[in-house]
Symmetry: C2
């Protein structure tokens, strides 16, 4: 059995080598590549992706998994070998159950849709992309149908990003969250808005980067096993567990941009850096789901990085780095500015309180599209209706409405959004549990010390990689299931202090 396991690992390592090389190609493309390299680079990445897929879906992998199943069954559930076999089998089934022809047709369609969308959005013309979106929904249903036995047609699609999560559960949790959030947003936005002008002065770009990098080093992001570069959109990428990189973008006149995206991406990166090194090169060697990954980026960005205690330590340092800009701004002015809540149209620009409303609108609409209870032609109106009822705001066009996010136009419809809000909910749940275990954590944060929190997260979440699903992790950590209570409590406490609720 050990020999068969070795064979499996060898095959998986080759797949991983190809995937990680593809990640390097993509990283280089967005950080360094001269314009002339674009055409061939796209083809090179596609070739490597195809070769990795061919190797992973090779029947030899399936045979090895079958042969190893009795061995896995003989081991405890959380044994490394048992987990490797279990998680690899799940991914193998996901990769092999969709017929190659269907997938290839879908990719062709998807590439065409993306091209149309890149023109439709600036032209504010939903009608040109609508027929493509209809086809995408049809493809999405056919892909879901490759995994029969689901409760809701979105379940298999959700499962790709948030394994084990189901539409019905998420819908119930989101309905609850929405019910609590809408009145909070109403109460806050009825009040005098915070003055965030102190963040919109002129800030030297290199100083901004240096300030953020100093913080994430103290967080525990290991620059011996990572680095930060600039790119048009911030992201985290990994070439192996010893090389986990982040990117950011810097705006000279907006301190929010580089600083909080740096803290956000560092959260993702610390998760990957904290995975058991023995899992490197296997399907266990990566974060377990979109939601859990996002819980870490949001925890370090928001629960730590936008907290009062954190800035009690760092605001004097920020003032020292930018004396001209901040010597006349009080701590409270700054703290209110970085936590300003407002009704806004764009998801990616939204604050902590309203962000989830944006996400849940998209999640609800995509379920309806998949169910057939909402027609594509009625989507813009449904979008505007929900923005009116949830956020009290009406987009003047579809560019900042239904055409806003790339998700529905460069992949299938379903499963791409829920992770953002599941992550926010989990961020508070995990943080709350960590503080219960180590009540000194908030005080440590006010002193710029993060090792207790980081250590708890490593021990309880990071090290496991993909060994446990999100629900399994939550069960292990809290003894229960996903609940929004800590998250609502967190928002009420924090924003109740800023805005009387």
């Amino acid at each position: 059995m050990k020999q068969k396991l070795q064979e499996l690992k060898q095959l998986l390592l080759e797949v991983d080598d190809l995937q990680m090389a593809t990640a390097v190609l993509y990283w280089d493309q967005t950080t360094n590549m001269p314009p002339g390299g674009a055409a061939a680079r796209g083809r090179q990445a596609a070739t490597l992706t195809r070769l990795a897929h061919e190797k992973f879906t090779d029947p030899a992998v399936g045979k090895l998994l079958d042969a190893l199943q009795p061995y896995a069954d003989s081991l405890p559930y959380e044994d490394d070998d048992a987990s490797l076999i279990r998680v690899t089998r799940r991914q193998y089934e996901k990769s092999t159950k969709i017929p190659a022809q269907l997938l290839s047709d879908f990719y062709t369609h998807s590439a065409a849709t993306y091209q149309v969308w890149t023109k439709a959005r600036p032209a504010n013309d939903f009608t040109v992309v609508a027929p493509y979106l209809e086809k995408t929904i049809d493809f999405s249903r056919r892909i879901a149908d490759c995994f029969p036995g689901y409760d809701h047609i979105a379940d298999p699609l959700i499962d790709f990003n948030d394994e084990g999560m189901k539409a019905a559960t998420i819908r119930a949790i989101f309905a609850d969250l929405r019910q609590q959030l809408v009145p909070i947003v109403q109460a806050i936005t009825a009040q005098e808005p915070a003055d965030a002008s102190c963040l919109h002065q002129s800030f030297d770009e290199n100083k901004q980067l240096a300030f953020g990098q100093e913080i994430i080093k103290q967080y525990g992001y290991d620059l011996e096993r990572g680095r930060q570069d600039k790119s048009p959109h911030p992201f985290t990428t990994k070439f192996n567990l010893g090389d986990v990189r982040i990117t950011t973008r810097v705006k000279q006149n907006d301190l929010n941009e580089a600083l909080f995206s740096t803290l956000h991406e560092a959260g993702h990166a610390m998760y990957e850096q904290g995975i058991n090194r023995d899992f490197d090169g296997t399907p266990l060697g990566t974060g377990t789901s979109a939601g859990v990954h996002e819980s870490q980026s949001r925890l370090w960005e928001n629960l730590v990085g936008r907290s009062r205690g954190f800035w009690q330590h760092y605001y004097p340092k920020l003032q020292a780095a930018f004396p001209q800009q901040f010597n006349d701004a009080s701590f409270d002015t700054f703290y209110q500015a970085i936590n300003k809540v407002s009704r806004s149209l764009i998801r990616t620009d939204a604050d902590e309180v309203t962000y989830n409303l944006h996400v849940m609108i998209r999640f609800d609409l995509e379920l309806q599209l998949l169910e057939g209870t909402l027609a594509v032609k009625d989507l813009p109106e449904a979008w505007h209706g929900r923005y009116q009822s949830d956020l009290g705001i009406h987009a003047p066009n579809d560019s900042d409405g239904v055409l806003q996010d790339v998700h529905w136009y460069d992949g299938w419809v379903g499963g791409g959004f829920q992770g953002y809000t599941l992550g926010n909910i989990m961020s508070a749940l995990f943080f709350d549990t960590a503080v219960q275990a180590h009540p000194d954590i908030p005080n440590q944060i006010s002193r710029g010390q993060f090792s207790t929190l980081h250590g708890w997260l490593k021990d309880n979440i990071y090290q496991h990689g993909s060994k446990f699903t999100a629900n399994e992790l939550i069960q292990r950590i809290t003894g229960g299931t996903l609940t929004i209570d800590p998250y609502i409590r967190y928002l009420r406490n924090k924003f109740g202090e800023l805005y009387p609720l």
Copy 2:
């Protein structure tokens, strides 16, 4: 036939995609990678290299080549399709004739040798690496024997880097060159040495890089299809014909380092950038040989970049960039400094006149090692003897003697050195021919204009990629064979003016 040709091109493109991705991995490794990434990166690059080799040596490639041979035979020699089939077949034979087991055993041995060498050089201990080198020579002979019918056992090894060149021809050319060079070196080094101290002041590193980059842009290096980064050793790499990058290293107290390595690498890069874009992704889409490639780096570094006319235009600009350092240095002082000739131990630091003596010593010794007329145990003594007779200098140790270059310790022995000197010889031959066609080129260089020269090189050399061998190119361009006359004339003219000969 067109369909079979399409199939071949498709297979070759996949091989190229893997090879170019490997080049990106290597580039990233030397320019950006954090220390933690090293172990996995080596494995990833090895996997991609292996996959590329497996795909290229697949019998399907051989069958397609066989099927296409009648088509190739029906076309003119220089037809693109005929050339693709011809050059691919040559490479296919080189890649398939060495048994996989022999190659794999050799790589294992080679990796071990390299490890020993990295310790032997600083320890000045040739004896620990000598038994490895003996094995390497044995491997080199066995690899050469995979290509029976050679005149000299080094011929097949030379052919890998300088296709069509033979030991006997090169030996004769080198003997002639040596005979002319040794007295020139003696005559020059008997005179008062130039004062190069103006190059060894303190120079801002970014200003050094900016100055070099401005020149290579004017040369015609296209930064829309390239970029420059810093790395421990300068090199040129290509990810496709639209993305040809160079690297350099900067020394704060040595202006030579970044400046001339930038001009050198730009020569390599302009060659690749000038190749017919239709050849991209095929074996035709790269420079044709080590020697021709080096002819371009040396032409732009030395024949242009160290010439009197060139600096008549650029020295005032250098003075403007570094006024404190150069306002008191006359043009002649500077020009003598960048062309200082001296007896030195290290090949890579050598000047234009002595450089070839270093190379030819290595070439002669490796032929003797392969022939068996020189034993490994006698190599250090033979090395010192040749340095004494050719350069009039004696290394105090083997670290700066026979252990100096990595070539013999990370690959086979034979074929790795001749390209440097063949390149120097060809650089003058090509430049001479270009000036015969366009006598105004030297005047243009004195005005900082390079488009006539660059255009001639593109038309006569660059565009052809690997279509013609070095000898074929020389025949097409000059109507004759390789001759050292223009090179000797160039050295005599230039250095005769600096040092009365």
